[in-house]
Amino acid sequence: MRRTIGLLFALMIFYPLPALAQVEGQVGLEVLYPGVVVEPGDQATFDLEATSTTPRQLELRVDGLPEGWTATFRGGGSDISRVTADSDPTSFDLNVDVPADAAEGSYRFRVVASDVGADLAASVDLEIVVRAGAGGEVVLTPDFPGLRGPADATFTFRVEVRNDTPQEVQLELDASGPEGWRVTARPTTEEQAATITVDAGGTQRVNVEARPPVNAEAGNYEVVFRVRGDGIEEELPLTVQIIGDVALELTTPDQRLNTTVTAGQPSQFTLVVFNTGTALLQGVELSATPPRNWEVTFEPEVIPEIAPGQSANVTATITPASDAIAGDYRITFRASVDQAEDSVEVRATVNPSAVWGLVGVAVIALTLGGLGWVFRTYGRR
């Protein structure tokens, strides 16, 4: 405990000295992060600030840099060798290129800013720790790595591209899928872009769209999303599960949706069931909603199975009510399986049955005959 307090005292007393690196109280040089960890072959960047009690021009140099390393001062967008210091701090960068063959370890050197004429100088000690694998990487994270849907759907994966490296990277987007699939990857913000730029430590969002061929069979498919650039290559496998699409269409062979029937007499009407989906249809049931007192039966009543793209014929026998009046009636036919159904409305025109037509004519004939009889019997001869 006493030792800790002693240490704190020591820190309080000595703390300003190394951080400000103030020499003779006139010129100052500061750095926020004096030690940087980099990978071999990378570049380390130090943000420096120079101060002075009166405006002065300071010459910059690096002392003690290991052999083969290069250091460049950057300021105002160009390489610099001198800096003007004032009571307001002047910022500039020091870029140090670490050779690819640099051994792991800690390297120390010193940056000196000196006014040669006035014999004033300030310096700061910097450290670069070279460590393999310290640079970080680009990470691809999908919101949902697997999607499921029918063959006619468009599957969109939303992927976050995170740049964990210390530099801004430019990445080329690429995506591929099984044969016949159309797979595209583009940033969410720009439809046409093929490359993205990710700031150091930043993220970008990318949409990976996969469109299966319409006849894709049910099953699992893998789509790969890739980013490439600046020596980085990352892959993200994504999974699409296609479920068999159950769909059917009910219609008539010649697309005619009307028929003529006679009151009380059965007549036949042909329907066609198309399997328009990608899965096998099993047990297609047929039913009808006819007007009251009408009867509709099917042959067959249940179609055992229809392969995708195939069709099956059904014969419906329509028996109108025996007292149906002449006119147009609606009959709704329906074909259904567990997951899908289709219906079609057919207009049935009832013609009066020939018998009653004859009865009507007979009544008229009898009336005229009766009139004739009255004339002959009671008329003037």
Binding site: D323, A324, I325, G360, V363, I364, T367, L371, F375, R380
Partner: protein, 318 residues
Amino acid sequence: MLDTAAPTVPAGTGWKVVARKELADHLLSARFVVLIGVLAVSAAAAVFAASGGIREVAPDATGIPALFLKLFTVTTDPVPFPFVTFVGFLAPLLGIMFGFDAINGERAQGTLPRLLSQPIHRDEVIIGKFVAGLAVIGVMLGALTAFVSGLGIFRLGLVPEPTEVARLAVWVVFTVVYVGFWLALATSVSVLVPRAATSALVTVGIWLVLSLFGGFIFRAVGSFIGGDDPTAALRAELAVSRISPLTLYSEASSALLDPSVRATGLVSLEQIDRAMVSNLTLSQSLLVVWPQIVALVALTAIVFAAAFVSFMRQDVRA
């Protein structure tokens, strides 16, 4: 008109002879052919329109009660009136045509004294003429209704039920009574007015006034009696209009041909509160319009009695 008289006529049957001869005159006469042609064409048009209308709503119409009778009571474009309205409007012409010259025609031709010189009583002449007129009217209306029913069966494949046939039959009989009123009116005018043309104009005038302007007249009278209260005015108008045989006939026809009609005239909302829509039997329908039927029969009888009495008192040797 009677060229030969029966040599011997049993007492009390002379009117039959007169009726037989009159009927023979009427049948196939020009006026008969023209009238039945006009009526048949308009009736066929009305029924064609009605059956077309029913065909269009066939799915809804199937199974509704007394559909066959709808042939006679509904209409659709382009025919403006249903069959019943046509008959109500045109059938009086039948009565007028066969009655306007019944007596004064004989008088003008000078055949009346000759007729009465036969062993036929004077009352039997007018009764026979009236019966002959009724008979030819009955034949015509019966034939027309049967013809139209046949058309309906042919067009719709719709078969009338026995109750519907019964209703139609009652309606035809009632229509004969209605036309009989006009026949009696025409006959009595022909007794009173010496010239046939004048009597025809007088009866046709009465018919036109009642059928075309009756509504306005009755409304005026109704609002005069009822004063400011619209309901009272309406009631008064209805009561007054029941003097007219046209009103009586149309009310009675509507109930006879439509089993769902359960009242005539004004019905207040309180009266039909919680009433169920149901169909009346024929006897119930007859009860509903029994007053109208009785009134029309009475009107016909009164008018014929007037003709009868004035004819009996007339001097035939003019």
